[in-house]
Symmetry: C2
Subunit: 335 residues, 2 copies
DNA sequence: TGTGCTATTTGAAACGTTTCGAATAAAAGC
DNA sequence: GCTTTTATTCGAAACGTTTCAAATAGCACA
């Protein structure tokens, strides 16, 4: 393997000079610069980034840790992070936390391979996060409520989102409203449920536990949940589904078995993933500020890295996206 | 910043001993091991991964370089790569090549920050790839035909895929078949087009250039292309669209303006993205072996890393997925 | 010719690990 | 009790850079 020493030797200069030349430091004469560059070229020299980072103790890179690199939800988030990172001249790498404590993610968290990181992954423990954070290694947490030194959470107001969605349904005259939730350990899902509950309560509608069914945030989960709901004798007139993917699955199922959306049953989702505006009918949902979340996260990281003060935590808000899967119950009765 | 030296000092051992203890090397006594571990714990010691990698000159990580970290197409590919990588005890990081020569990707390519990499990004130049590849740094290229030492391409037989799609259309009685292609610099798109051409030729159907329109592989591009096609006086009875995303966009457009799919116009896509089976009607398409591609790429990297011989290049095949957007023209005429 | 500059080049010391070979301590063999 | 073995521990040399402080060269000026 060819190192900077080889380059220096071939160019007949000291390695320090070679280093300066290679990095375009001004103090080296034009001529030696050329010599060094040429030598590097001839030897096909490639610098060892680690060695450099080690010496500089700065990586100019931040990591984005996701529990799953794939999935439609993340695209926009990643774009948000990325845009801001490049603005700051930083590199972004994404890695996943599949495998928990032994995952790639863990390695980045505990081995100082990046200058900071943004985490959206629930299989990384709080403990691990607390241990890793330090002034030189700020962590931004998405969708996780954990305020610590050098750790700032950004959450979206899921409860209010759930409240909005449910209230909307109620305003449209529905009072038999089912809820399809996420896995029990999902904080988001839980909050969305609470919003649902609150709206119900506010309008003096009793919560019926048989109408709360949980899925796993996937399309298939939504199908299954829909099936369970459809199987009951009394059917709700509307469903608030805790994420769009499940909502799409549910719609798919209803259509398959001849239950019309929204004529027979109204559906409102959550997240506003790209796909939801392309379905027929188009999904009514709650906007999750994904891009903004990513961008904000990035911003905060750089503020922390610069030693600036930031808010202790951030809350982003949601917005109702009215499309075609919720119908006014009056219209329905007349229809 | 606390280093292994601090740990060693606090535990009253030599740094070498501390290192052994921390890495679980057997030759250190149980007692000192405990002492060291405790000291590390107390100081909240976190090792510097770079320093370690530097010394070991091995990173145990491979990179996956994509031109865009987002996008539905990549999910499955990533899963494929990931699955195999973890099997080999390697870490995977994804980074993107947005920004070409100055991108994060470039840094990984030229600075030995990983042991090997898989590239699916057309804004990385061939030259750069050739320069970077070496026995110690194998590169697997997806959808790019570039055979060099330590560089193996994996391509899918796009031409044959295009041929199959088009032939299928012809067999269903269509002979006015339009083509919606990708951007000019897309090798895949070009190959798919050639397959289309070949099928046409084989059945003595003249190619009509006004029926070739190009999009940018996005949904919006598909919509636009569909619009252009619909605007012509004579309309084709079928379209072969070079990727599913555009096909969905096209369908969307046709449905919007009251052109029925498949009754008025048949559509066949390419890729078989997840979404395509959830549309109404379900999209007929050509299966692109995304997962397999990722998994194979991973496999090849590890073979190369082990110094084993591999094929010079790999070709993966496609498969027709018949669903609902192609109709037999006879049915149509009768209907 | 010597003095003082500036511009360039250099050697050596880091950066934080791992790992080799040697040193030491403890145990065992006789 | 002395030698041999084995189990631990240790010191020092890497790994490939960057960067500081010092050295040298080149030049102008007196």
């Amino acid at each position: 393997m060819v190192t900077i020493k080889d380059v220096a030797k071939r160019a007949n200069v000291a390695v320090s000079t070679a280093s300066y030349a290679l990095n375009g430091v001004k103090k080296v004469s034009e001529e030696t610069r050329r010599k060094v560059l040429q030598a590097a070229e001839e030897l096909n020299y490639r610098k060892n980034g680690f060695a450099a980072d080690l010496k500089k103790s700065k990586t100019q890179t931040i990591a984005l840790i996701l529990s799953d690199l794939s999935g439609p939800f993340y695209s926009e988030l990643i774009r948000g992070v990325q845009d801001i990172a490049v603005d700051h001249g930083y590199d972004l790498i994404a890695c996943n936390s599949l495998g928990g404590q032994n995952s790639t993610a863990a390695k980045f968290l505990t081995e100082r391979r990046v200058d900071g990181c943004i985490i959206l992954a629930h299989n990384i423990t709080n403990e691990m996060i607390e241990k890793s954070a330090s002034p030189a290694f700020p962590i931004v947490l998405l969708d996780r409520q954990l305020e610590r030194a050098h750790t700032v959470p950004i959450i979206v107001d899921n409860k209010n989102g759930g409240y909005k969605a449910t209230t909307f349904l109620i305003q449209k005259g529905h009072n038999n409203i089912a809820f399809i939730g996420g896995p029990a350990d999902s904080h988001d899902g839980q909050m969305r449920f609470e919003g649902y509950l609150e709206a119900l309560q506010e309008h003096h509608i009793d919560f019926q536990s048989r109408w709360k069914v949980t899925g796993n945030f996937t399309r298939e989960g939504g199908e299954l949940a829909a099936k369970i709901i459809a199987a009951q004798d009394e059917r709700p007139t509307a469903i608030f589904v805790a994420n769009d993917e499940m909502a799409l699955g549910a719609m798919e199922y209803f259509q398959k078995v001849g239950i019309r959306v929204p004529e027979d049953i109204s559906i409102i989702g959550f997240d506003n993933i790209l796909e939801s505006k392309y379905t027929a009918p188009k999904l009514t949902t709650v906007q999750h500020p994904k891009y903004e979340m990513g961008a904000l996260a990035s911003h905060v990281i750089f503020q922390l890295l610069d030693g600036e003060e930031t808010e202790k935590s951030f809350t982003l808000h949601t917005e109702l996206i009215m499309r075609e899967t919720v119908i006014d119950i009056m219209t329905k009765l007349r229809g």
